[in-house]
Amino acid sequence: MEIHSQSIAQLSAGLQRKDFSSEEVTRAFLDRINSLDHLYNAFITVNEEEAMSAATKADQRIASGTNEILTGIPIAHKDIFCSQGVKTSCGSRMLDNFIPPYNSTVIGNFNDSGAIILGKTNMDEFAMGGSTETSYYGPCYNPWNTNKVPGGSSGGSAAAIAASLTPGATGTDTGGSIRQPSSFCGITGLKPTYGRVSRFGMIAFASSLDQGGPMAKTAEDCAILLNVMSGNDPKDSTSADKEVEDFSANLSQKIDGLKIGITFHNDAKNLDSGYQNCLEKALNQLEKLGAKLVEISLPKNSLAVPTYYVIAPAEASSNLSRFDGVRYGYRCDNPENLHDLYTRSRSEGFGDEVKRRILTGTYALSAGYYDQYYGKAQKIRRLIRDEYLSCLKNVDVIAGPTTTGPAFDIGSKNDDSISMYLEDTYTVGANLAGLPAMSIPIGFVNDCPIGMQLIGRDFEESKLLNVAHQFQHATDWHLQFPIKKNNA
């Protein structure tokens, strides 16, 4: 099996067996990036030299027997995670010149484990978008069909995995930014429980919703990545003071008797028949594996999108105030005075979608509107969480569609923000509730992959990964990849 087709688990085993070296593995992926990424624009920065020298060190570590499971495995990071000495743009002109003097905790953890940074992946500007079209570095293209978007905002990571330019990547998910591109690109992605993964050094979009997570070909790989990403971080007060279990430990457990809540009949009316079909088959598969399907209803979830689009922009409007042209980042030429410096640096440094959300958020927090918007949204958020929690008392996991359909055409939703925002219908609930959720591939509609979303109880990522792994053990949707398909 070619190196680039292997999963992280397979590569790790191969390195351990000395089937190949980290240098060979890293070289193989760098070569693929160099020869194929012009088709996808998945990477903003490729870290070639540093990656190769890290691979050499990893090989020494493997030779000395002090390696860990990820030692020598190349991965990619969404360009929202600060990487010491490597440009971290957040997909924005505002940070096109920004080279952080520190690592995000997530990248620091990966570096400690001996994983290698291939590069930084493309994303919607400041993670605001669901198509990776708002990036200052141009849109990213879906490897399954380059006329389609890869989803977003972690579209670069999803596309890079789908195109086998990297075996795994990090992403962040504020309203679906890991799960929706995972669905669109036919890969596996997990948004952990809020607080599971440190947000330190992860450039903030909406602080109370943002959560970093793993993206890979398989649930098994996601578990491996999550093991390294998770843990309490004294630098992030909102990171959970919770012992990190071994997420790989329970993957092989049978899901016999597991109760899976489905909202299928409610959701079905919004889905096209192709998606419905795939979802029905996937749920049948879970039943075959011994799970019990229980019909549940989440009526308040219909309020999730409007609630999300008040809270997220409100927090963003404040989080993005620091980009003022004073200390780092983009600064306009020849400012006449302070006001001019602020106005032009921000007007020229930010793209339209970012400006739209800053304006919306500023409005929602304004005197006289706070109670009507932000205050009310926080109350509804609480109700949405309560509803999820009460459903999850009766079922172990909630299953449903990740998206409303397969990947859409590039440019098709650029003039329609509302339609773009409604893309998040199924994903934002888990962010508002803080619950772990993942997307796994379950088939194709019009030759484009689609996913199934699994939502679990607080800090029960293990259970989600177990269900996903058992499903993938019985199916091969996750083994379908565009290149392979084209070759076939």
Binding site: L95, F200, G201, I203, S237
Partner: protein
């Protein structure tokens, strides 16, 4: 009038980062990535700031809120790197309390404390040194502040100043702030409104920002009060606004019309969890609280035989009180210690512009010196000489007394021979003494004592000299 005091808390590191809070560092040498609001950095709350805030709350017997919440106050300014200040709006750490003032006329006046909340200080813009540009120093950005807000209870400048002085004493006692106004550790905003005599309602208020000395506070209040009186007497209206006191021109002038211009878009800070305080935590702090100024003052009056004035001076700072008590423990004479500290030590420190903690003579040394007066080893006069020497040399007073042979002369034979010599050398005066009335005798006796002391280089025990002189002279009569 009502006051808002911004008190810098004396934590070693900043309220939300690990940078040092030391004053006066090279610009931006004490600003880390969190203080610079670099992308992705997050605040982490300094628990010492919490402890200090709770200590203050206990010090004024205020409500300590079991749950308090940080909020973001959003506005753009170059010295505010995040574009928002982390503060507390709806749920401050400290709720209602009262502050008792002892005024000059011995009356007690109560000031209501509305609330006190935690927040972070901003940096400083530096306008000099740069041609047509401004510099920014972020060393101060993130220094913890406790903003203490009073009710509009002040009716005179005297009350304002005595509140600030008492507040200064309290916070330095608690050790939660150095209270240094010149370095900006204690900054005061004054809200002033007028009220027509015989009516209940206050007029429109103005706020004077950041006045950094007692003198300027007095001047600013006086200027602003007169300004408002003039406007009202001319039939005008006061505009609610923030004003700045310009010490050079000795006037206040409008900064901005706050209520119109700014919408701070407060919302709960999502990067920090609400602070939960347990009864256990509060009682642990209560148990470790130092004695407060008023309690100390009463104890001094009860325990030591000193005047109210002495007690005021000796409790005016924790350092002075601690110094005093150490001297007392060593010399065992509270009255003597009180006099010496006020007339000798504080006077000398004043002259050399040093604080008591910088005193060249430690409490231990002064105590030892005074103990030698108490046990009559030396006279007060000799003690002053010794004090003067050890002030400049730092020597041990006991060794010095030994070395220079300054011990009082107690040997009555030795004293007797000096007395005899003085009587022999002053035959005229002795004659006069024997022939005159009681009044004049007293005066002459003083003269003889002086002569004896002089010939003994001040070492003769004055009591013994008196006794022996009287005995010898009465032998003659």
């Amino acid at each position: 009038m009502g006051l808002e005091v911004h008190l810098q808390l004396a934590t070693i590191s900043k309220i939300f980062s690990g940078s040092s809070t030391t004053f006066g560092g090279t610009p931006n040498s004490q600003a880390c990535s969190v203080d610079l609001a670099m992308p992705g950095t997050l605040p982490v709350f300094n628990e010492l700031a919490l402890k200090f805030a709770v200590m203050f709350g206990l010090g004024i017997d205020a409500e300590i809120n079991k749950i308090s919440v940080f909020d973001r106050k959003n506005y753009f300014y170059p010295d505010l790197p995040k574009g928002y200040q982390i503060s507390q709006l709806h749920h401050p750490i400290i709720g209602r309390g009262t502050f008792e003032l002892f005024l000059g006329d011995k009356t007690i006046y109560q000031i209501g404390i509305t609330r006190a909340h935690l927040e972070e200080d901003a940096g400083k813009s530096v306008h000099s040194h740069f041609d047509k540009e401004s510099g920014i120093d972020l060393n101060r950005a993130g220094v913890p502040l406790l903003e203490i807000v009073t009710d509009p209870d002040f009716r005179s400048t005297e009350q304002v100043i005595s509140y600030l002085k008492a507040l200064h004493i309290l916070v330095t006692y608690l050790g939660i702030s150095d209270g240094n106004m010149a370095e900006g550790s204690m900054r005061c905003d004054v809200n002033i409104s007028l009220r027509e005599q015989g009516t209940d309602s206050f007029g429109t208020r103005t706020e004077i920002k950041n006045i950094n000395s007692f003198r300027f506070i007095e001047r600013a209040i006086s200027f602003e009060t007169n300004r408002q009186i003039d406007i009202l007497e001319d039939g005008g209206e006061i505009i609610q606004e923030t004003r700045l006191y310009d010490s050079e021109l000795d006037e206040t002038r409008s900064m901005r019309s706050k209520e119109i211009a700014n919408d701070y878009r407060y919302f709960p800070e999502p990067d920090l969890l609400p602070i939960h305080i347990t009864d256990d935590y509060i009682s642990k702090i209560r148990d470790s609280m130092p004695e407060l100024p008023l309690a100390k003052r009463s104890r001094f009056l009860e325990t030591y035989d000193i005047t109210e004035y002495d007690a005021d001076v000796l409790t005016s700072s924790r350092e002075i009180a601690d110094y005093y008590e150490e001297v007392v423990t060593t010399c065992m004479n509270p009255k003597l210690a009180a006099n010496w500290i006020q007339t000798e030590l504080l006077a000398k420190l004043n002259k050399s512009e040093q604080s008591i903690s910088e005193s060249p003579v430690s409490a231990k040394k002064l105590g030892l010196l005074l103990s030698k007066i108490v046990d009559e080893t030396i006279s007060g006069k000799i003690a002053k000489q010794v004090f003067s020497v050890i002030w400049s040399t730092g020597e041990d007073p006991l060794l010095l007394i030994e070395k220079r042979n300054l011990k009082q002369m107690d040997d009555s034979n030795e004293i007797e021979s000096i007395v005899q010599k003085v009587i022999d050398q002053n035959a005229d005066q002795v004659k006069q003494y024997l022939s005159t009335d009681e009044q004049k005798r007293k005066k002459l006796l003083g003269y003889f004592v002086g002569q004896v002391m002089k010939s003994s280089n001040g070492k003769a025990n004055p009591k013994a000299v008196n006794q022996i002189l009287s005995d010898k002279l009465s032998e003659k009569s």
